[in-house]
Symmetry: D3
Subunit: 195 residues, 6 copies
């Protein structure tokens, strides 16, 4: 398959023409991942929004407090992005989920039906809540908080679940609206045993 397929309905800037901070952030990702995920290139069309987007992303996904593991967070992203039918996020964050969870099956399970996935009851409760915030946040009430407390989540964890869901709801809608295409590399990541 060819990489010639457009990755956005909008102009994709050349890395060398980007503002220094944006360019450096992108080069750092490329260094680490071996390629530049298209979300960086496509959102760089608007540097101010790019900066806010990734600042928000990092505040939620790179924070080192709270009880959510990295795999938990990617599981939330994968499950809710599937409900929003966002190809980019299901494919890219499904890859991260496989890697962090060291489980090549989990992402596909969570994307199709989290109720049938090989997860713990605690993770099931986490995803039930995330899906509710994703699809019907107006119905969130005390009962949801109580259900999560019963699984050992504290209020800050609940904020994390809600905020990750809310942030990727933004991301899903942008990806769908601008036609963001996932890099081919993501599809296979985390599916093979580490050598």
């Amino acid at each position: 398959m060819s990489d010639a397929k457009p990755i956005s309905r909008f102009p994709v800037p050349e890395i060398k023409n980007l503002p220094d901070d944006v360019r450096e952030q992108i080069l750092a990702v490329q260094e680490k991942a071996g390629f530049v995920p298209n979300v960086f290139l496509t959102l760089a069309h608007r540097p101010a929004e790019f900066r806010a987007f990734f600042a928000y992303h990092d505040a939620l996904m790179l924070k080192d407090t709270g009880s959510l593991t990295k795999a938990d967070r990617e599981m939330i992203v994968t499950a809710t992005s599937a409900h929003n039918s966002c190809l980019y996020c299901v494919v890219a964050h499904g890859a991260l989920l496989r890697i962090y969870a060291k489980n090549p099956l989990l992402a596909d399970q969570v994307a199709v039906n989290h109720r049938k996935a090989d997860i713990t009851p605690r993770q099931r409760a986490m995803l039930d809540f995330a899906v509710k915030v994703c699809l019907d946040s107006a119905q969130v009430d005390d009962g949801d908080y109580a259900a999560l407390h019963a699984h050992g989540f504290d209020d800050e964890d609940i904020w994390d679940i809600a905020a990750i869901t809310a942030f990727f709801g933004l991301s899903n809608r942008m990806a769908n609206a601008i036609g963001m295409r996932p890099n081919d590399e993501f599809y296979l990541m985390g599916r093979l045993p580490k050598k």
Copy 2:
């Protein structure tokens, strides 16, 4: 009615205890509006997310390029927040819509049914697209772009409409999940003739 009602399920920081930049931003808003909108106080519970949230907000709502007026932008927020049943955003941004549009009726019209509002066909097309991005972004396709082009929107305007919708979709879900309460002041703003 009393302001003693809780404005969030989470701790609300005292302004004096906030990081300098956050505190200054809040004081500046207070100076301008005469009160501190609760979205500032409630999100300040998490300064890193606060900074990203308002950076994103400002990039979309304060930008001075493109053909969307300030009233257009608030109209998008009001209409889509109503579909997400977000009390905070309907009330607060409805107030801004009344003020920017200098029209005391428009916010209620747009919140209940934008198809019956006193708006132009161009604004109707804008809101039709925003509601689609809000409720079913996976169905966005070339036809949507063509329909907006026919009303004189260019691609950058379309990004603006989608991004405002996506960002406030995040905001709506956070407000619903943390129980953010709108300030009583918003309800009446823009309803009376300027003296």
Copy 3:
């Protein structure tokens, strides 16, 4: 803003040409309210239906038995009309709700999300049931009756809640189908402190 906007897709009769009883009813309302609500003018296009409509309305909204207050009844109308996206009824009955409840915030709260409104648990149960009758009456069962009994409603109150919801479901559909426009006066009513 101008009152020149059409208030119906159908001919609006002149008051002086209406049958005596219809004209008198309209003049009495005008005397009391200071203006003629458009629901009277637009439905007067069909006097026989006009008479039945207001007889039904009065039987439900002016009755002086049962435990529902006037504010309770208008709250039911406002909440369910919002689910039917009926601009006329949300605006007009939201005004009455503000007045009867002596609360300038309540109508907007109930219209956007009754679960976040400043209401009692009893009112919450009342509105939960009303919304169920509005959206999915086929699912009404013994459990709904029991839930309402637990809040002190008797069977006659339940009939009242259901009947008000059902009647305004008719009203909402007529208003939407004929393009009934709310009078500008309603938007501000009950928002300012009584002098």
Copy 4:
């Protein structure tokens, strides 16, 4: 089968104890139909609402102007009541539809899927509009009026279609909420050739 099954969750008045006008109306129906349809007995629990209900019903269903036939009107009731899952109205008005249309198959067809029924394109357009008013009246717009005009309906016919749908939406919700049971007699009416 036994008629001992309750026909309402509410007390059913004895005919002899009803106000004169209500009793006479019921006896007249009994004289004509050979039995008293349960909608009369169950709504007679509230005489004021009974009077308004049947005044409205008669204004819409017994009027002799406009181009809708009696069969057309019952077809609207049957189709929309099926969408509201109202057993009483599907069974009782399905019987009337069979009789007025002199067609023993039509009611079952319209109740299950009006798009597969043996009806004219004009009736199909009529039912498409009725179902839209029933399920999503907020979306009614100029296009709906134009589509009906194209089939020879004038504006007054459109009012009739909308009003019949709206009125039986009220009736469906009341029947579902109070547990109104259709008389056994209705099920077979109009299914056998007239002797």
Copy 5:
């Protein structure tokens, strides 16, 4: 009414031209029922699928183990086919339900709203589960099994309920897609007392 109406969008084979086994199966049905149900004629257009369809049908509907009665099975078909708006199956299997249950009212009740039908609590639980499998099988979980066990269904009965629902979901989609028309004979079957 005329039998000249097409019974399928596809060619309907002449019985005499069919493969022997298919022809014999059809003639046996005709012998027993007095007419050939259109599902046989229309599916015979594809003999291989015909054979598999009726083998599946017979495995589920003619089996003589398990606690589901013939009426129970037809009740499942009628209720779920109504949710799929399948005219053929509601009419044809409604007829069988009336006959097996010896109850002329039951099919119409179950088709409109099984929650209002004259059935036992056990049958209500059975239909609740069938409707869930029909509309939202991804949500089936341990709770559904427990609810059915509580009514005396064992796991094999649950398989039966699910499989009948699943099989007729196939049948409903085929009937809707190819425009399968029910025979006129079905509409009246089981409505009159046996002489």
Copy 6:
């Protein structure tokens, strides 16, 4: 990961105890695939249904007439099974789709949002129709046939699309109801270049 996870809520027969024809069919599949797909083992619990299921499957998926390629057919299964949230079929038939289409990306694309997949306009039309049959077959009408004819599908192809969708709708519901677990082997199949 362990294969100790249950593959069904029901007893899974030992191959050696199965009726000869069922055992032979399973051994033949094992010979060809290198493992026994769980759909064979789990459905073998009921040999009569097993035989009908695979006869139906083979009639639709192994037929060598019509213009649908093997990849087209698996694409229909993958897309519609995703709408039914059926983990087994998305994972197993996604694997087959990758293999037949010789495209490691296609299955994930089609499962998340077929409108964003790398497919031809003809395949897009095919999937649009399949999804309509899956989700709302009652709305299928002449326009759907015309749209498919415009892409070169003939009526027999349309039957194929509908029948594959309908058959796997059955399969999806059975898999969801009995808790059928996909074999771990499927997840990686077709993702790596053939050596």
